[in-house]
Amino acid sequence: MGSETLPNQFIFNEKMDKDTLYGLYTDDFPYIEEIFATTLQHFDADFGAVQLAFEQENIEDLKRAVHKIKPTFGFVGLLETQACCKKFEDDCSRASSFTQLTNEYTNIKNMLLEAKDIIQSEYLRLKAFNASLL
């Protein structure tokens, strides 16, 4: 069943939780395209805030920036990324010194960049898919 493609049905990247996406948007693919587009439009600014806080070694700002970007991944079905953001946010709350966060930061940074690539590629695929239905 999992590999069958229904007509007019878009198959999302396996890292995106399709149940979440269908739960939020049903099969309104043009709207999902809009959501992906909005996410991408604001991604760099939100991710930039995370990077800036890290460079300034400001734990509170880092926590706040990760908290802000976190739900983005829920809206695009990247639940693992969302969970990692939550964990990093908790790590920030517990950290007594900035150096304790360095390794985790590298992980979360890579994860966020990978998430952006996935959203970007899915957005382009979805755009083409929606155009093909017109």
Binding site: T38, H67, T72, F75
Partner: protein, 233 residues
């Protein structure tokens, strides 16, 4: 039901999604979207809305800061990704708590929790007001409360609690409605959840006042008025 609302949310995708849920429901008119508390407060100072969809953590100030400063009591649905705020949500008598991202069905469930007459709850639970007393309906009886016996009135969502030195009375009403009914000579609203008897204040601190040992918050919006009404020498 057609309610006016605003969205206070710093994450654009979440605000767009919420806006769409509002439109889809056909029950709400979105009057504005604000990404931070000061802009939302500026709007609320000159506009009345029935409902606020309110994020908690935003740059500069939290959603709870907004609730402390707003001069009236619209219904509030919190939208956050942190379930840890549930306790505070309860303390602030919010209507519901939506954890982001939420489904459209969950959004509709939250709307169902808003009483149809929420902005104008006037069930005559205060049936008569005199210069020195009011009558309230409580436990199926009409009870006379002398102004001088009332310490303060506290919001409990769709109910209010009248606290006297000896007893507490809970009745179906809102602070907003009572603000119009109680004697302005004796009482004043100091916070979205509190009306106090001015004569009962024992002391005042930076952001709160004490009545009979109970600390009552004073919102920024009401602080100047409180200080004006007191006989400070």
């Amino acid at each position: 039901m057609s309610l006016s609302c605003i969205i206070v949310e710093d994450l654009q995708v979440a605000a767009d999604y919420l806006n769409r849920c509002c439109e889809k429901s056909g029950q709400l008119t979105v009057k504005g979207h604000f990404q931070a508390v000061p802009e939302a407060l500026a709007f609320l100072n000159s506009n009345v809305v029935d409902l606020i969809f309110l994020d908690v953590e935003m740059p500069g100030a939290t959603g709870f800061d907004l609730l402390d400063q707003i001069a009236y009591s619209p219904k509030v649905i919190l939208t956050t990704s942190k379930p840890e705020y549930a306790y505070d949500a309860f303390e602030y008598n919010v209507t519901d708590f939506l954890k982001k991202p939420f489904t459209y069905q969950r959004f509709l469930d939250a709307l169902k929790k808003i009483p149809p007459t929420a902005p104008e709850v006037t069930d005559n639970s205060v049936t008569e007001t005199g210069i020195d007393h009011i009558f309230i309906k409580s436990d199926g009886k009409l009870i006379r409360l002398n102004n001088e016996d009332i310490l303060y009135i506290e919001s409990m969502g769709d109910y209010v609690k009248f606290v006297t030195g000896e007893k507490k009375y809970i009745t179906h009403n809102t602070i907003k409605n009572l603000e119009e009914k109680v004697s302005k000579q004796s009482f004043m609203k100091v916070h979205r959840s509190y009306i106090i008897n001015i004569d009962k204040i024992s002391n005042i601190r930076e952001n709160g006042l004490f009545i009979s040992g109970k600390e009552i918050p004073i919102s920024k919006a009401h602080k100047q008025e409180v200080l004006k009404r007191l006989n400070i020498i």
